[in-house]
Structures are given as structure tokens and as C-alpha cells.
Assembly symmetry: D3
Homo-oligomer: 143 residues x 6
């Protein structure tokens, strides 16, 4: 739906108002799957290839990102997805969080944050788009 983004970029809706999702993933194949899925759904994404990078982007974001989609295992001795999500929630307690994982999915019940969604691999692109949409739709409904 690039026509939507084009229209938006033309200034009709305002460039500053794009709905941007922060994706944290160090595997290039998964990166491209996630990027194509979310872009197809009309979301814009920014990719961080490490947890450290993600934390820096969140600290500097000032509300730019509207949701987090993160892999769990981001390299030995590196910040993992559980920690990135906790950092995002310290900044904004209502921040939508979607985890993606294979073998670590079972740890979601003890390490995940409340009101998040764990996508256990393998998952279909529609599940990712639905997960992000569900959390954003809930988040836009105060009360």
C-alpha cells in the first residue's frame, strides 16, 4: 500500500504523523519477512539490528515509535529482547510489545511484560500484522 505512504509523504496527512514500528532483529531473512509483512499492512518500520541499538533509538525517540516487535535472542552477552521490552515499558507503560521466538517462547510467561504477545516460530505474516493491530487498537481505546 505504498500509495498510502506516498499520499502521506505528499503532505496531505503530514509526514510527521507516520505510524512507525521499531523492529529488533539480527537475522536478515527474518528482517525481510517482518519488513514485507508490516509494510504490506501499511505500517512504516525502523530496524534495529541489536538490542543496544534499539535501546538507544528508544531513548532518543521522544514518542516517534508506536510499537515494538522484537526477537528474543540477539547475540551472546548482548541485550536480549526481554530487556529491550522492559526498557520500552519504563519509558511508556502502555507501549505495545510483540515478541518473536522459537525455543525461547516458553519463557514468555516468566520474562515477558504484561499485555504483550509472543509469536512462536513458525508464524505466518498475518499473525504478526494482526498482533500489532490488536495491540494498537486496544491502545487507542482509553477507558
Amino acid at each position: 500500500m505504498s500509495w498510502l505512504l506516498d499520499a502521506v509523504r505528499c503532505g496531505e496527512l503530514g509526514v510527521e504523523n507516520l505510524l512507525v514500528i521499531l523492529v529488533v532483529e539480527d537475522d536478515q531473512l527474518i528482517q525481510s519477512v517482518v519488513e514485507e509483512s508490516l509494510t504490506d499492512g501499511g505500517f512504516e518500520i525502523v530496524i534495529a539490528s541489536s538490542g543496544e541499538n534499539a535501546v538507544a533509538l528508544l531513548d532518543a525517540a521522544d514518542g516517534k515509535y508506536r510499537a515494538l516487535v522484537t526477537d528474543i535472542n540477539l547475540g551472546r552477552d548482548k541485550i536480549d529482547g526481554w530487556e529491550v521490552a522492559r526498557h520500552a515499558r519504563k519509558i511508556d507503560p502502555h507501549f505495545p510489545v510483540v515478541y518473536m521466538s522459537g525455543k525461547d517462547a516458553i519463557e514468555w510467561a516468566s520474562k515477558g511484560v504484561p499485555n504483550s504477545i509472543m509469536l512462536a516460530k513458525p508464524f505466518a505474516p498475518a499473525q504478526l500484522v494482526t498482533a500489532v493491530s490488536q495491540l494498537l487498537n486496544a491502545g487507542t481505546t482509553p477507558g
Copy 2:
């Protein structure tokens, strides 16, 4: 997915059974974004360009529409989206309602109807399709 609508129009599923959504929006750019998003998802839509028009269509519909997607601000001294939604719910207490708004989103908690969804602009097309689907899926599950 025009092939589906074509198949349906061929009479296999019955033309009279199309799932039609009433969209109330006076901005043509947003109209086209909403139309393309919902049509992509396999929904048929009818567009009302004013609240007055929407109320007249609902009064004459006799169950034709299965959900309402409405902008809030529909012109000074005109019927707004809050009023259109209340009118739809008087006719059918279970009617699915999705609001779209920018600056008025904060008023949803005091002016929206129960079990509705507010999409705060900017939102991605996937959020709209998911919102309508969630409400319809809940609505088809009595009990």
C-alpha cells in the same frame, strides 16, 4: 480479492448476501484509503459523505449494513460521527462501530458507544481491517 466478489456476483453465494460496510467520511483522500483497505480485505462498502446521509441510509437499510466505520468531524453544525453511531445502535444494539479521528480521539471515553473501537490517526490500513474483523467476529459469536 475481486475474484471473490465476482464469484459471489455470479450467484453462487447469492448477491443479496454481500457483507456491506457503511463508511462515513467527507474527506476524499481518507475515503479512498478506507475504501482500498476494506476492499482488499474482501468487504464491500457504501460511502456516505455526511452524517445526515448516513442516518438516512441506516433508516432505510433494513439490515443491509453489517458495520459502521465513521469519521468524527463531519462539518460545522452537521451531524457528527458520535451521533451517527448512537443512531445505528438504537436500530441494532449489537451493531459494530469503528471511529476514525485525529484530535477528537480523546473524547472517545465520554462520547463513544460501548464495545466500539477508536482508531486514532495516523493508523495503518491493517488496523482498520483488523478492527472491523474483530468486531464482526465477536458479533457472530452469540453467547
Copy 3:
């Protein structure tokens, strides 16, 4: 559970921290049923006997009340429960709202606020206590 309130009043937990619910009801029999039910559940209540009174209390409350329990019909040409709830939500978009009604329950779908509960009469005291608790428990869970 007056022992709890006594303990609280003794200053152990702080008098200013009592969980107070605003009840709007002009029928004395229902007033006493609601009061006994909620007090049994450990809540403290303040009763307003008219919608006008309730609005004045909410305007002056500065966060004192944590939930609203309101009858719908509060007298001819008077502020009704629908309006009291909308007023409460303008002040705090997350304010828990429970309506009680007999013949007007059907109007909840068009006149109620999002994320509220309608108790259609007759209802049991346990339903009222559960309704208030559910909304408060959801309200204390940001994210």
C-alpha cells in the same frame, strides 16, 4: 469488614487513601442495598441523591472518587445517569462506570460509555461488587 476501615482510620494505611465510590441513586431502598453490598466488599461510599449533586461532587473531587455507580432515571427534567457518566469520563477518561437500571437497560448500547457495565435489575449484590472490582482491577493494570 469494618475492622479494615478501622485499621485504616487508625492511620496505619493513611486516611487520605480510602477507596471511595460515588453512588448516585434517588431511591432509598436501592440506596441501602447498594450501600450494604459495597460496604460488605470493603468499599467506602458517598451517596449523591441527584445527578446535579453528583456532577458537583465530581467537579470538586480532585481524584477523591475511584469509581461511579449510578442509576439512570434520576427524575423528570433532571440530569440522568448517562449524563453523569459522560461528565465523569470528561474529567478522567479511565473512570470506572457501573450503571443500574430496569427498563432503560436496553439503551446502554447507544447511550453508555465504553468499558462500562450495565446491571439490569433485578441483580444480586454479588454482581455489583464483582462489577466494581472487575473495572477497578482492570484500571490498575496499565499497559
Copy 4:
């Protein structure tokens, strides 16, 4: 809370409007636990000691009962709780259903009806009262 029922019986709220729950249980100890729990919560109950009796009461009820609380195992070669619940849902698709069971709880996922609650024994009285209240509160909220 017999004072409430007394007040109701005095005609202030109307005798015909009592909130009555149909309890199906052939064990007298469990019967008395369930009766005391629900009566404490302000509900009135009618006890059927067999599935056959329950089905007959539902057929003759004409809307008298507002919810069903049923044991599963009601005697060899007799109508069981699964069948009583299906019968109640054929009469009213929105009828609240709570099952109580020990060893049969695992079968709920394949034999239970949608939007019901299974209380696996042992359960506390508060769980039963909360289960009935949750389903009734959801049922009084159309939309």
C-alpha cells in the same frame, strides 16, 4: 443478605423479578455448599437433583432462570451436565453456564459450550459467585 430478598418480597422491587439460578447437583454436601455460597451473594436458587429434572424445569421455565450451575456426572445412564447445558443453550443462545467438576474438567474443551466457565474441584465459594457474576454482567451488556 436475606434483608434484600425480604425487601424484594415486600413488593418494592416486585416478586416476579427475582434473579433465580438453576443448580443441578445430586450430591447433598455440594448442594449445600453451592446454595450457601450463592445465597450469600444475593442470588435465589432452585435445585434440580437430576439432569432429567433440570431439562423439565428449563422447558417449563419461560425465562424464569437467569443462569445454570451444573455438576457433570449426574448418575450412570442419566442425562449429564454437558447435555443439560446444551439444552439450555438451544432455548436461549446467551444463557450463562457454569460447570463444576473434578475428574471430568479436562473434557470441558471438547464437550463444553462456548462462553461457559468450568470450575475444577476443589474450588472456593468465591470462585463460584464470581463466575456467575462475570457471566451475568457480560450478558447484561449487549453490543
Copy 5:
């Protein structure tokens, strides 16, 4: 999104890990609509053209299928969709179930399994994809 399946088939993610949905449908037009909708969403599907076939596939599957999408009416004197779903839930109590039906939708409240979704015809492809995704996303979130 055949590129995703291609990538997966190339072995990057492991062929054995594909997310496969069992679809039970004897009408070829509906079969093709369901197949195209789910394949578009990134799901792989296996089609059973009878309830007997579906039960045999489930018995032999050993966890191969991750969800069931089933029509209700599968031929006179044949196993129907209600029975297929109960069979799937006996094998796995958490198995996601989506029913599709026209005239039988009203029976969902008495014959459906808990935590399933009934799609009443006519439905849009997006509703089916969202229904499957919602149930899978809930299913991947233990706790």
C-alpha cells in the same frame, strides 16, 4: 507471500516447521476462497473434503496441524463440523477452531466448543484470516 514459503522451503527456517492449517470443506468454490485467503496471509493449508477424512488426518497428524477451519454441513449421514471440532479438542484441548456456516450459525452457542469462532456466511476473507490469527496468537501466549 510465496516468497516466505520459498525461503522456508529452502531450509532457512526448516521445512518441518511450517504452520499448517486443516481446512474441512466439501464445496469447491468455498475451498478456493478459503485457500486463497489463508495462503495470502502466509498460512499453508491441507484440505479435507469430508469429516471422515478430517478425523483420519487429525488422528495421524502427531501435531502437524496448528488450527482447524471447518464447514458445518458436510453431507447427509456424514460426520459434521461440530463432531470434527470435538475430535480435534479431545486430541489437543487448546486446538484453535474456526467454524464457517450459513444457516447453522445459530447452533454455535449449543454445539460449538469453548474459545472457538463462528464465521456466519457471508464473511469477508479478512475475517477468516483475523479469526485464525487471533486464536493462534492467544494460543502462543501461555499464562
Copy 6:
């Protein structure tokens, strides 16, 4: 409802089947409030006065406890409630968790486990009983 516990202790329902909740609280006043509330609701409780004690009880429990109710702040340089809950979830991913806190409630969104409930002080006893019951009722409903 000590009559229930008495009946149970008499062996009718089996002593080994009591529904026991682990409460972690170092403040004696709050301990007694929690104990009276839950006992009134028909639950049996075991109190741990430190996080270290709670972890040891959970490790030795072998399924004895059915839910956790825990304070957050359990003493300087001691195991806190967040850590106790994570420990419980590592043993059983579906273990019901209720936190109680005053000033630390805001941290729930980043430090709490999924599908838990935070009771922000002050809370009424009915909220605690409802919170535990809601989580147990959800937990007894697989699927």
C-alpha cells in the same frame, strides 16, 4: 465459610484437595487483612513473610499452591515480589499471580509477568477476592 473447610477436613472432599493460596507479605496488618479476605471467600492460605521463604515453599510445593498473592517491596537487599512471581512462573507457566503495591504499582507494566493483576493500594478486600477468582476461573478453562 469455615463450615466448608470443616466439611472438607472431614474427608468428604478429600483433605489433599484444598485450594491453597501462597501469600507473601511482611507487614502484619496487611497480612491479616489479606488472610481474612481470602478466608471469607473460602480459600485456604499459607503466609510467607519473605521472598526467600516464598521461593523455598514454591520449590518444595509440588503443585500444592494454586495461586500467588504477593507484596512487591519485601525488604532492602531481599528478594522482591517481582522475582517471586517470575520464579513461580518458571515452575508453572500458567500460575495465577496477583501483586499488591502502593508506590511500585507503576512498575507493573515493565516488571510484572503476563496475565497477572496489580492491586494498587488502597484496594478493597472484594477486589482481592475477585482478582484471585478471575485468574483461577480463567486457569480452569483450557482451550
